[in-house]
């Protein structure tokens, strides 16, 4: 049965208890309240609306999610005003915290486990005097437009990559197709396709 997404949302909203009958979308919250610059493909599954609480992209398209993507409780789309996050078809996000100031791209069939952080920026300047300026501008009632420019580099994660529990992926990292990132790794440099990496900083395992 292929009911258009729009009608499913209406049905879920009207009937509430019927929601479980649609395997594709669960939860009785109103998906139509999401910002207009979020695009969601067919048959996705989102556990909590709170995943979108920290979405504040001002771009025409700030978040693009492909078809059949599964998003669990712990996932957070923390996207800044110039950020763009792209997730392709059939990916599973268990507990990914995306800290996106520029561009993060996740390929097809990627599995992201619990307590994973993926960031494409340092979010504060490395230079100490600029960091004082940043602290002042970033005060609760400070002028946030005065914040210094912070270095960002896009993160690209290829198809069929598996990311283990507690991994942190830092800015500018490119992970090749089919790579596996072992639990607790801190990924600071590129990972070749098909490799398994482990440790802090993450290194390629010889027997992989």
């Amino acid at each position: 049965m292929t009911t258009p997404l729009f009608f499913k949302i209406l049905l879920v909203k009207r009937l509430g208890v019927m929601a479980d009958k649609f395997d594709e979308i669960k939860g009785t919250w109103n998906y139509t309240n999401l910002p207009k610059n979020i695009s969601i493909g067919k048959d996705c599954w989102f556990e909590r609306k709170q995943s979108f609480d920290r979405f504040r992209s001002k771009l025409d398209l700030g978040l693009k999610i492909g078809s059949r993507v599964k998003v669990y409780t712990w996932t957070t789309f923390n996207i800044e005003s110039r950020g763009f996050l792209e997730i392709e078809d059939d990916s599973i996000l268990v507990g990914a915290i995306f800290m996106c100031a520029d561009h993060i791209k996740i390929g097809k069939r990627v599995v992201v486990s619990y307590n994973v952080t993926i960031a494409d920026s340092d979010f504060h300047p490395v230079n100490p005097s600029e960091r004082i300026e940043d602290a002042i501008a970033n005060a609760p009632y400070g002028d946030k437009t005065q914040r210094p420019v912070v270095m960002t580099k896009p993160v690209v994660i290829g198809d069929d990559v598996w990311i283990g529990v507690g991994v942190i992926i830092l800015k500018g990292v490119k992970i090749g197709q089919g790579a596996r990132i072992a639990a607790g790794s801190i990924v600071t440099s590129d990972v070749p396709a098909g490799a398994t990496v482990q440790g802090n900083p993450a290194r390629v395992l010889e027997n992989s």
Partner: protein, 180 residues
């Protein structure tokens, strides 16, 4: 074991009852039945929690159909995610810190039949008396933490840790022993 908490926790904000195959001992505290949001265990006793144990905000039992967890007495679990389709045994007086994950594999998914390897014993992870697991540590299948041992913050463990050892790092290494 006597179940002193009704199926619906009196202090709960989440409107689901506890699963029927969960037992919680006298003097124990569970923050919410939300801990069983991804719970699929069909075992007769899926989760057994002893007496005087605290399970605080952020603790989850993401069990597959064959998953079983037993927790002893006087444990403090301050937000650990237990994701297994096997047996996880936690003995008495164990401290587990924030954001700790106990899982069959690093790529386990909540409440699913996570059977990657075959021929392994059905006990996935065991934590013995008086062990202490630091924040953001990850325990994977094969981890057995000896009595009184300490697992440092962020450590990854999938091996046997002798009693009173100190483990740190990813992958975890034994870096010393506890002075008694």
């Amino acid at each position: 074991m006597k179940n002193n908490i009704q199926n619906q926790l009196s202090h709960d904000w989440y409107d689901q009852p506890l699963p029927s195959n969960v037992s919680i001992g006298k003097g124990s505290w569970l923050y919410s039945s939300y801990a069983f949001r991804h719970y699929n265990s069909t075992q007769t006793s899926g989760v057994i929690i002893g007496t005087n144990t605290g399970l605080y905000n952020g603790t989850f039992f993401d069990l597959g159909p064959e998953g079983k967890v037993s927790i002893g007495e006087y444990c403090s679990i301050v937000g650990a995610i237990i994701c297994t389709n096997k047996n996880v045994i936690i003995h008495d007086y164990v401290f587990i810190a924030h954001e700790v994950v106990l899982a069959d594999s690093a790529f386990a998914q909540p409440g699913i039949d996570n059977k990657e390897k075959t021929g392994c014993s059905s006990t996935s992870i065991e934590i013995h008396d008086n062990a202490w697991i630091g924040m953001r540590a990850v325990l994977l299948e094969g981890a057995s933490i000896g009595e009184g041992a300490i697992v440092g913050a962020g450590a990854v463990v999938d091996f046997q840790v002798p009693p009173y050892a100190i483990v740190a790092g990813a992958p975890g290494k034994i870096i010393g022993t506890v002075k008694k």
